[in-house]
């Protein structure tokens, strides 16, 4: 399986391989959280403001309340990945449905759905996400919904344009002649052929969603029951002069994860692009 054409093309992109490695590590940390982190991320386990490498057992130091920063990072990985993936799935569900319907049926349905999509694109997405989460009270659920609501329009546009071209192809005409039902043609004939660009876009959307979640948490709009990277940086904002490490490490975790996802996205794009075959890079 590792020798399939897809992986051969993916592996040629060195950045994508490195990104994949980082991503696997972050995912492992998220899964093994409770076994890796020695401390409860919310518990006051030491003196406040312990510097990194100053005390054994607190590699990255402690925060204003004496909470272990390394444990916070480990638990934060869970929230970031969970919200990133789930909100992307929800956005895909909305975007693919609307885009497929618009592209397949065309006409006034297409025109109406595209006006609707444009309206959402006209609104500054981060401001809309802030308002949604604030009004519906911060929780994992409201954050996921808010991120999905601001992220689906590009998916809808992409899927629509794919459907518009695929709709005209012979295999769709054949399926129509064979008397297949409309949902069946959309789901089993056209959608599988439009999957490549959707997958690439999805991997980049997870990265954007993680950035959005961390930005919301930074502003104090994170789920109050979950330790997250953005919240940790936000808590460091007012004590920046005393405790640089409180802001530095969670931020690095975000940069690494988002960068890894973007690199993997480019690798997926190479891997799914069959035209790259037989051409040296």
């Amino acid at each position: 399986m590792m020798n399939s054409p897809f992986w051969r093309r993916f592996r040629r992109n060195k950045g994508a391989v490195a990104g994949m490695a980082v991503l696997l590590i972050v995912a492992a940390v998220a899964l093994l959280g409770p076994w890796l982190a020695t401390n409860d991320p919310w518990a006051m386990v030491e003196q406040p403001f312990v510097r990194p490498w100053a005390e054994p057992g607190f590699l990255l130091g402690t925060d204003t309340l004496g909470r272990d920063i390394l444990s916070g990072l480990v638990y934060g990985a869970r929230v970031s990945l969970l919200i990133g993936v789930v909100s992307t799935l929800v956005a895909l569900l909305i975007g693919v449905t609307l885009g497929a319907v618009a592209g397949y049926f065309g006409g006034w349905i297409d025109a109406a759905l595209m006006r609707f999509t444009e309206l959402f694109q006209a609104v500054p997405s981060f401001a809309l996400a802030i308002v949604l989460v604030a009004i519906f009270e911060p929780s994992i659920k409201s954050i996921v919904v808010a991120i999905a609501i601001v992220s689906w329009p590009p998916v809808a546009r992409l899927v629509r344009s794919e459907f518009l071209t695929l709709r005209q192809r012979d295999f769709v005409q054949a399926a129509l002649l064979a008397g297949q039902s409309t949902p069946r043609i959309i789901l089993t004939q056209i959608l599988p052929n439009a999957m490549s660009p959707i997958i690439v876009m999805a991997s980049l959307m997870v990265a954007t969603a993680i950035l959005l979640e961390s930005s919301l948490s930074f502003l104090g709009l994170g789920d109050p029951n979950q330790m997250s990277w953005g919240y940790m940086v936000g808590a460091a904002r007012t004590v920046l002069r005393q405790a640089w490490w409180m802001a530095l490490f969670p931020g690095l975790a975000i940069v690494l994860t988002v960068l890894a996802l973007n690199l993997v996205g480019e690798g997926l794009s190479d891997g799914l692009n069959t035209r790259l075959d037989g051409r040296g890079k």
């Binding site: 309206l119 006209a122 401001a127 104090g220 931020g251 940069v255 973007n262």
Partner: protein
């Protein structure tokens, strides 16, 4: 004639968009958990029965939903965005007081990001495949993955706390009493870090976009023709390739300009920059939702306005654009 008609349609579409956003605002308040009046009044205002009664009357909460919506949208049309109980001022006045600071910040950041982004992208495309190209690509990827607020905090840490080169707090030195040129210089020094940190993310976007567009245009026939008739490479790049590659970048920039105002919430929060973004953050902290929704509406209206301006610039720059 055709252009006037085109712009009129666009203006109309923009107005419809703003009204729809106002409707969304209204629905959000209705859908929020709890009594809409206590949502609008915020935590402090809800305990004042007189203010609550006034809000009830103002929004006609005993009326059917459609009448309420009409009342709300009617007030927005008259530029009445409600009253902030916390700040004891009309929402519109609070926003207008903060607008210049936000425009200064986002305008500067916008110009910087376009300037740096296009320059780096063009350099990258010209030296495609060399270490210069790889270096610029890595830098762009890094900034693209860096949260705005974290970059801002790190900039404060390095340039304000450690090196003490630039101020990292506020719009001007408090109590300096500077006027004239000294004041301009003071504000400019305060502007450097917020504008740069806000610009770097978008710079990364424009650099990647410019590079891709230039490499694509370079393959086109008219460029081959120019090369064949012996136009100097530098001139081909500037006059033929770059000019045509800039169109998609300008379109994207117009869309991003609205997003930049949203992103300014983060930058303004870190730098205590007295703009709309900071106002939104304060409204969040104080749960002052009539102020939050008002600021959101103005932000959205500005995004619509920027898109309109882009459309106009676009039709002026490229006569091939079909006016529909």
């Amino acid at each position: 004639m055709k252009r006037t008609q085109f712009m009129l349609t666009r203006v109309l579409q923009g107005l419809v968009a703003i009204l729809l956003i106002a409707t969304v605002n209204f629905m959000l308040v209705r859908a929020a958990p709890g009594d809409p009046v206590s949502v609008l009044a915020g935590e402090a205002g809800a305990s004042d029965p007189q203010f609550v009664a006034q809000l009830r009357a103002q929004f006609g909460l005993d009326q059917p939903l459609s009448t309420q919506l009409a009342t709300y949208v009617g007030k927005v049309v008259q530029l009445d965005l409600g009253y902030s109980y916390r700040q004891q001022q009309p929402v519109l006045k609070l926003i207008m007081d903060r607008l210049p600071a936000t425009l200064l910040l986002t305008g500067t950041a916008f110009a910087l990001s376009l300037l740096f982004g296009i320059t780096l992208g063009a350099l990258s495309a010209r030296r495609a495949g060399t270490w210069v190209d790889s270096g610029i690509t890595v830098v762009a990827l890094l900034f693209y993955a860096t949260p705005l607020y974290w970059l801002a905090l790190m900039a404060v840490l390095v340039f304000t706390v450690q090196l003490e080169w630039l101020p990292g707090f506020g719009l001007m030195t408090v109590g300096s009493g500077a006027t004239g040129f000294a004041l301009v210089l003071d504000v400019a020094r305060h502007l450097v870090l917020p504008a740069l940190t806000l610009a770097l993310f978008y710079m990364a976007v424009y650099a990647r976009m410019t590079r891709a567009a230039m490499l694509e245009v370079a393959q086109m026939d008219f460029v081959k023709t120019a090369r064949a008739k012996g136009v100097r490479p530098g001139r081909i790049l500037r006059a033929h390739v770059l000019r045509n590659a800039l169109l998609p970048v300008v379109t994207l920039a117009g869309i991003q300009a609205g997003g930049m105002i949203g992103g300014a919430v983060l930058t303004e929060t870190v730098f205590a920059w007295p703009g709309i973004g900071r106002l939104m953050f304060d409204a969040l902290l104080q749960r002052d939702y009539s102020l939050l929704l008002g600021a959101f509406l103005v932000t959205a209206a500005m995004a619509v306005l920027f898109n309109l301006i882009t459309d106009l610039v676009y039709t002026l720059v490229d006569p091939r654009i079909e006016l529909t």
